[in-house]
Structures are given as C-alpha cells and as structure tokens.
C-alpha cells in the first residue's frame, strides 16, 4: 500500500493482535527506524533526505494512526510500549538498525536501546526527553494552547518547520481531522510520560551500548539544552551536536543541517 509522500505503508499486528502498528517506509539502503515525537508522524524533508541513503521505517505510536485511536487503551505503561516495539521489529525482520528519534520518540529510542542493546546499532537522539532536573523542568506542552506551544517548540514559530506540525488546512473537515489528530497524538504519547517525563530511564540508561549522537536545538524551551549534558553524562561516549536557529524540533527547522549530522554519524 502506498502512503504519503511516496512512502510505503503497512500495518502489522502486535500485542496479541490488539494493536495494529502502521509503519511508513521509504528509501533504499540499511534499515533506519525513526520514532516520531508527541505531535504525530509527519513525513517531512528530513526523513526524505535520510531516505536517500537508508531504508527509513517510521512506525506510528499506538493511538496516533488514523482509524485506530483506541489501540492506545491496550497499553498501560512504557514497558508495554517498548515490548510492542520489540514485537514490531521482530515482525518486520529487522534484527538490528540505526535508531533515530525525536523528543518523546527519542525517549522511546533510548528505552529500546537500553532494553534490547542488540537492536540499536547506532542511536541518534534529537532533543530527547526522559530525564529530569529540578533546576530545569521540562515544559509540559500539554498545558499550553497551540500558539504558546508553537512558540515553545520552535525558534521561529511562524517558520516552515512549525507549519509541518501545525498547518491549519483550509477545508473545515480536514481542519477538524488535523486538530483531533494532533490532540489525540499528544494524549496517546502523553499517557506514557504524564505529569513528569521521568519514568525511570535514569535507572536503565547505562544499558545503552550503541554509539550515540545527541542533537539539540540551541534554543530548545521544552527540554533545555542542559539535558544534552545530562544524557551525555549517562550514555558512555555520547557526542553532542548543538543546532543553531532551532528549538525543540531542529530536524524540522534546520532539516539539512540535522540530516547531514545524522547521515555523517550513521555512515
């Protein structure tokens, strides 16, 4: 089945067939798994650019797939989610891959790499959440209205990157669908992190064995750049790349820079 932007979409049942996981794939080359952030999966120039060198597989987090909103009710916690992803990779026949993630998706990537070190060959984390510092609380974007959220996520809230997540379609029906989809995506991912996105990664993170690249938007107001150091301190050998002119979603605001960094690192 063909999906958006020339991607190939397939749906694989996991979790005793209670959860249907849709995966968008594109490109040729070694396998790369991309875990999207709390605002849903949007196929974007960054992923297109990676698809020129890799076979990019981007699963949708349970609940965020159109037509299957209630799948999320079959998962109770982060452990369930990570097991689902292990089952998914098993089904896809992907034993080991480069794993890339953004925000909540980067937390999932990191958890997966900690739970199943053999699954992650190399790990590229874009502004991950999952750790907590009292002196730099992670902003709860779910308490913000859309305008505030845009200004917290993006260095340039009016830029093209912001449009990828928050575009308001002209058509009323499409606008309602987009709005509902965005809210439900935040709710479905938020289920695993509310009210504080520290669910014990600090106890497991030492198990990450993959060479790790931390990419951080220099102006990230959701998870301030101090968290880059926090992750680097806890993952042996991790390297930090700060991206100027970007907030919490550098792969959307500076797609060329970030895809170059990721490609370079994964080569």
């Amino acid at each position: 089945m063909s999906g958006l932007n020339g991607t190939h979409a397939r749906t694989l049942p996991v979790w005793q067939n209670r959860v249907s996981m849709r995966v968008l794939s594109k490109g040729e080359g070694p396998a790369l798994i991309f875990f999207h952030g709390p605002w849903g999966l949007h196929w974007n120039p960054f992923l297109d650019s990676l698809a020129q060198h890799f076979t990019v597989h981007a699963p949708e987090h349970p609940g965020t797939t159109p037509g299957a909103p209630d799948d999320i009710h079959h998962l109770d916690n982060l452990w369930d989610l990570i097991l689902c992803y292990d089952e998914l990779l098993e089904q896809m026949g992907v034993e080991n891959a480069a794993v890339v993630g953004h925000s909540f998706g980067a937390m999932v990537a990191c958890e997966l790499a900690a739970a199943y070190p053999r699954r992650a060959g190399r790990l590229a984390l874009i502004d991950p959440i999952g750790l907590w510092r009292d002196d730099a609380p992670v902003t709860n974007w779910m308490m913000l209205n859309q305008q505030e959220m845009q200004s917290y996520i993006f260095h340039d809230p009016a830029g093209a990157g912001a449009q990828l997540l928050f575009a308001q379609p002209e058509d009323e029906t499409e606008r309602v669908t987009a709005q509902v989809g965005l809210t439900w995506a935040m709710g479905s991912t938020g289920k695993f992190i509310w009210p504080i996105p520290d669910k014990g990664l600090k106890k497991r993170i030492h198990r990450v064995k993959a060479p790790t690249l931390l990419i951080w938007g220099a102006e990230d107001r959701i998870a301030p750049p101090v968290y880059a150091e926090e992750f680097a301190r806890q993952i042996t050998g991790a390297r930090i790349e700060s991206v100027k002119g970007a907030g919490h979603a550098p792969h959307l605001e500076q797609p060329a820079t970030v895809s170059d960094l990721v490609r370079e690192f994964l080569r």
């Binding site: 909103p69 209630d70 999320i72 009710h73 109770d76 779910m142 308490m143 913000l144 209205n145 309602v176 709005q179 509902v180 809210t183 439900w184 995506a185 935040m186 709710g187 479905s188 938020g190 289920k191 509310w194 009210p195």
Partner: protein, 414 residues
C-alpha cells in the same frame, strides 16, 4: 422537587486586577501573594454558617464539593465540611449532598466509600453520594493523574465503591488501578443497598451513557445557564429514552446561579459586582486546561471539535446584564426568579433535583444570608410542588427525606 444550596467556598477578596496580573485562578495562583490563612479560616466558617443557615431556612439539601489549588473554590476535602454539616443538622430534614469527593484521586478509592459511609451514619441516613470524575485541573494538573487514564480510573473506582458498600462477603479487588485482597468496609452506610448516587458532569457524551447505565442522577454543573444547557440536557434525555428508562425528572440535576432582591433593579444594585467577580476572576482559567490532551475520549473529542460551542462566548467580555439576559445568572425580584427558574431550568431542562448557588464570588456573608433568606421564603415554596402531580418517585434522594413535601403540605392543610 428538591432544591439544595450549593457552595464553592471561593476566595472573596481577590485584587481588582487579579485576572490581568495572574495567568489563572486554578493550579498556579500564588498563595503567598493572595491569601492569609487566618482570613481563609473566616471564609471556611462563613461557608459552613451559610450552608447551615440554608438548612434551617428550609432548603432540602446542602452541597459541598472538592477542588484543589485554586481561589475559585477551595474545599480540598468536602468530607471535612460534610462532617460538620451532618452533625449540625441532625435535627433537620436536610440532605447532606456531597458533590463530592473526587474518585480518581483517592488512593485507594474505598476511602470515599468509607468516608461517605461515616457521613451516612453520622447523619442518620441523610447522605447523597456525589461521585464526581473531578475537573481536569484538579485531577490531571494538580493531582498528576494521566489525562487518558482519568475516566478509566474513575469507572474502576466507581465500581469498587458500589461493590464495597453492598457486598455481604469480604472480596478481593484485582483491578487495573487498585488491587486489594480483603475489601471489608467498616462502617457500612445506613441507607440500603447504598446512598443515592449523583454523578456530576459537564456535558461529555460518554458520561450520559454511564449515568443511565448505572441508574444514577446526572447533574449538569453549569455556569452558563439553562439556555446554553438545553442541547446538552436534551442529549441526556435522549439517551435516557433510547435506553428504555422512564422520563423521571429526578434523573436530572442542574446547578443554577441565583440572586434575589426585592426588585429587579435592587438585584442589579446588590449583586452585579459579585456576579462579574465570579465570571471574570473565579473562572479565569486557560481554556486548554479544561481539556488536556487525552482527557476527552476520542469520540467526545471529535464531537467537540465539530461543534466548538462551549467556549464560543468569552465571559470576560460580558457584564452583569449580559449574564442575566443569557440566563447564566437568574437574578431579580422573587417573581422574576420564580418564573425564570421554573420555565427555563426546571421545566425547560426537566430537572427534579435543582441546586442553586447563592453565594457568588465576592458576595459577603451578610448579603449571602439575605439572598438565601429571600430565596427560601419567596422562591423555594413555589418550586417545590412542580413535579408532584406527575407522581414520580425521587429514587435519588434519601428515602427518609423524600416525603418532606407531602408532610409539609399535610401540615399546612390541617
């Protein structure tokens, strides 16, 4: 019909520029800048005195409710207030309406079953057990419950509480959110098989189904009056009909803000600023906090997105006369209030269990008593007989207090 006095226990003396200076009345208002514990002690005592005044003035019930971290209404434990009211009204035929202890934040939830059973015992079987879902601000933002688990936790807790009251045998509860190996409630309520249950809601479709399936009284706690509630309550009655239940008006409760004075003009003079204080300051909450992502189930979320009517009007742009015109507040002379309450609320929405909010925002103690007194003397007696000739039984009222109307009628006929 039954008419109860509702109280929020608000901060009555917020600064005039409160809503400009602070982002929200809920969750984040700074205690140290806005409050003084001794003064707040006075608020609590006024609140209790006002509800006791209402009980003595002839109201059928007195209502308290639970909210957290706010200046809008801060009874974090309604059962502490309820205990005082229960003890102090043991000589009166008044129901103790707990609207009530929030289920999803009680751990374990049988705590609510226990405390309500205590209140029922103390009051001699006069408890109405409100089992609210709790507002997203209280439950998700203040008490940390995951929005997507809010309703599911509620439903499990509801089932546990109902079973804990009624089970003859000790039982094990192997729930998703609560696991208890030996549930054996001490005490049990006087009212059998359990106290009447009211479920407050704010118009969520899924709550209609829940209320009807569980044979509880659905209460719409609205601040925007009967006109804007019409569609919502019609939706509820449709579910009642669709599920084959009778149209017993006591299946429905509704909260209405009311202010009464000798004349319409006098009411405006006395109450306008307090009504505006309530809508401008006490409801000063970012809209998104009423529904953090995941709090509404997918079906309700879609329905709301298609018909975004709830936040269509910004109350900050309205003044007293707008609130009265729209029916957010029913205000005026006893004749005006009687007529509007009966037509718009009681008959218009088919409500058998009416709650009235008579202490509103900054309204001082003396004026509150005045409002209550006038309501009790001039409005309440004419509302009471509204549903009587249709012969419905109020299954959602303590049995020993159901006959109050008949007995007062018989007494006056003698």
């Amino acid at each position: 019909m039954k008419i109860s006095a509702f109280h929020l226990m608000p901060h009555r003396e917020l600064p005039a520029d409160f809503e400009k200076r602070y982002p929200s009345v809920w969750v984040t208002p700074p205690w140290w800048e806005l409050s003084d514990p001794a003064r707040v002690g006075q608020y609590y005592n006024w609140t209790l005195d006002e509800l006791l005044f209402a009980a003595r003035a002839g109201f059928d019930g007195v209502c308290t409710n639970e909210h957290h971290q706010n200046a809008y209404g801060f009874m974090p434990s309604p059962n502490i207030m309820g205990a005082v009211l229960a003890k102090a009204t043991n000589d009166l035929p008044v129901a103790i309406v707990q609207m009530g202890a929030t289920l999803p934040t009680q751990n374990p939830p049988i705590r609510v079953a226990e405390e309500y059973a205590m209140l029922d015992c103390i009051s001699g079987g006069r408890l109405i057990a409100g089992l609210p879902l709790g507002s997203p601000m209280d439950v998700n933002l203040c008490y940390g419950i995951t929005p997507m688990e809010h309703r599911e936790r509620y439903r499990e807790a509801f089932a546990l509480v109902m079973k804990a009251w009624q089970a003859r045998e000790i039982f094990a509860w192997n729930g998703k959110y609560t696991q208890l190996a030996n549930v054996n409630l001490w005490p049990r309520p006087i009212q059998q098989p359990h106290p009447p249950v009211w479920v407050p809601g704010s118009g969520s479709i899924s709550t209609f189904d829940f209320a009807v399936d569980n044979e509880v009284c659905y209460c719409f706690l609205s601040y925007s009056g009967a006109k804007s509630a019409k569609g919502m309550m019609d939706g509820y009655w449709n579910v009642v009909t669709k599920k084959g239940r009778d149209a017993n008006p006591y299946r429905a409760g509704f909260l209405q803000l009311v202010t009464v004075a000798e004349t319409d003009a006098k009411a405006e003079e006395l109450y306008a600023k307090h009504v505006e204080y309530f809508y401008h300051k006490c409801l000063h909450v970012p809209a998104v906090w009423f529904s953090p992502p995941g709090n509404q189930d997918y079906r309700s979320l879609e329905a709301t997105a298609r018909t975004p009517m709830r936040f269509a009007v910004n109350p900050k742009e309205l003044r007293y006369r707008d609130f009265v015109e729209k029916g957010y507040v029913i205000s005026g002379s006893p004749a005006t209030v009687r007529q509007r309450l009966q037509e718009e609320v009681v008959k218009g929405l088919r409500v058998g269990n009416l709650m009235v909010l008579l202490q509103i925002g900054s309204m001082p103690h003396e004026l509150t008593l005045q409002n209550m007194d006038l309501f009790a003397r001039e409005v309440l007696p004419s509302l009471r007989p509204v549903w009587e000739n249709e012969g419905w039984v109020n299954h959602w009222w303590p049995e020993k207090l159901r006959a109050r109307f008949e007995s007062t009628q018989a007494a006056s006929a003698r």
